[in-house]
Subunit: 244 residues, 2 copies
DNA sequence: CGGTGCATTGATCAGAATCAATGATCGTGG
DNA sequence: CCACGATCATTGATTCTGATCAATGCACCG
């Protein structure tokens, strides 16, 4: 997913005067509701950062000083129990906003899955902007609503679906996400490890692996070059995911 | 949707001029940020309704015409799979807002657990008010944030906790809720059935029942008059809930 | 080449589900 | 007022899904 390994892109002229205007994920992010001047203003409080795989981005419990917009790569959000059990609450990518669910302190941790680019805002300065631009605040509320809906689907998955249903639901959600950002539905990229998938679905790595093997055997999925997974019959997978 | 079975309550005098000012849950609800005039205004677009146990309040998939504030009783939010498996995504009570996680259509269903009172707003009229009063919108965003944090805790519970940990976590959350609305921590009221608890925790009724028996045997909980559950040692229960 | 980390596969186990029966509670009507 | 039925909760016996324990395979990299 945009693994820009070595060099960073050479800034184009318009990126210097108004970098956010040239942002590739602007349409999907909170920034989609901002006009040119507003974009310039938000650019002035934004810092772009890059993270390597496994780098921590935020730590649960720390003061919530910053909010983030993911502009490249994949981020995992997770919580830990004292004995080390981990629940990944979501994978974020292009355009996703990180830090809505925050009071004084972060309620979860975040790490880079692959090479990640983010846009970072100081919390208090972003809040000033929110006060100034109610339509930005409205946009945030809209994004929070969507996250809540997703969270409920996730609860259904964790509480009531079988291992097979979970895996298929997961693959379909990745597929839909790819479509939403303008990609193809079928060969799905899996940047995260089996352990990550397990901790997201409430399973173990072994069960994830076995379930993949099962789906392969039944020709419900096929492994392509570079670990991409193709979904030959999305409709029938959707039936499986919904428990029919 | 509007299943107001018999009669509605007789309004008291102050409820007529400004019913919301007298609302017992105002401090906890979205309305806490509104002043006298604003309260009068929101009152003008609000309808109070009552529901009996098991009455449907909203239906997943229906157009999201209304939003609600719970002012009494307990509401269960849930989603269903086609084969009938149910996941309860939350129990709402006094002061909770219902409908943040809503686009054009409701993303979940809601039913009355016991006798429920709500304040109902037409969605479009409430949105007009949100545009007019940015601090109300800010309040909504704050409530949405809190719901997201809760949702993440819920995911951790569903995905990674054992049956015993789930039940104890659940009891403690009820206890904390009681404290938040000004009640006592220890004898906890359980208005919902074992089946509801099971569908909330991703368990079966039998497992819920067995786990209660286990906790009773170990003197971790005690059943009081009227089905109230007392928690003799909240600190040690907290240890269990956190998986130590 | 050998090491390290990740994925797969196998064997066994355990926690919770399922199937089944009994018990408690409550509302209703005789 | 009691008896009956309905609903819900509890308990027991058994099954089964997914976890755990363990070994092997595979790819990447110094």
């Amino acid at each position: 997913m945009d693994v820009n390994l070595n060099r960073r892109p050479v800034p184009k002229p318009d990126m210097i005067s108004n970098p956010c205007a040239a942002c590739s994920v602007r349409d999907m992010s909170i920034c989609s509701v901002l006009n040119g001047d507003e974009l310039r203003e938000i650019a002035s409080i934004a810092t772009t950062l890059e993270f390597s795989p496994h780098d921590p981005i935020i730590d649960e419990g720390e003061p919530a000083e910053f909010l983030f917009n993911v502009t490249g790569g994949t981020v995992r959000l997770y919580k830990l129990l004292p004995d080390g059990r981990r629940q990944i609450t979501g994978f974020l990518c292009n355009g996703d906003f990180m830090g809505i669910a925050v009071n004084q302190n972060y309620a979860y941790s975040a790490e880079a899955v692959d090479r990640v680019k983010v846009c970072r805002f100081a919390r208090n300065r972003l809040e000033t902007l929110l006060d100034k631009y109610p339509h930005l605040e409205k946009r945030m509320l809209g994004m929070a609503s969507n996250e809540l809906i997703q969270a409920q689907d996730q609860m259904m998955m964790l509480g009531r679906k079988t291992a097979k249903e979970k895996i298929v639901t997961f693959l379909l959600s990745l597929s839909q996400r790819q479509v939403k950002v303008g990609g193809k539905a079928s060969p799905v990229a899996l940047p995260m490890s089996r352990t990550d998938i397990a901790d997201y679905l409430g399973l173990t790595t072994e069960t994830v692996s076995r379930t993949f093997s099962l789906l392969k055997r039944d020709h419900a999925i096929r492994i392509e070059e570079g670990g991409m997974i193709s979904l030959p019959d999305i409709d029938s997978l959707q039936q499986v995911a919904d428990g029919y």
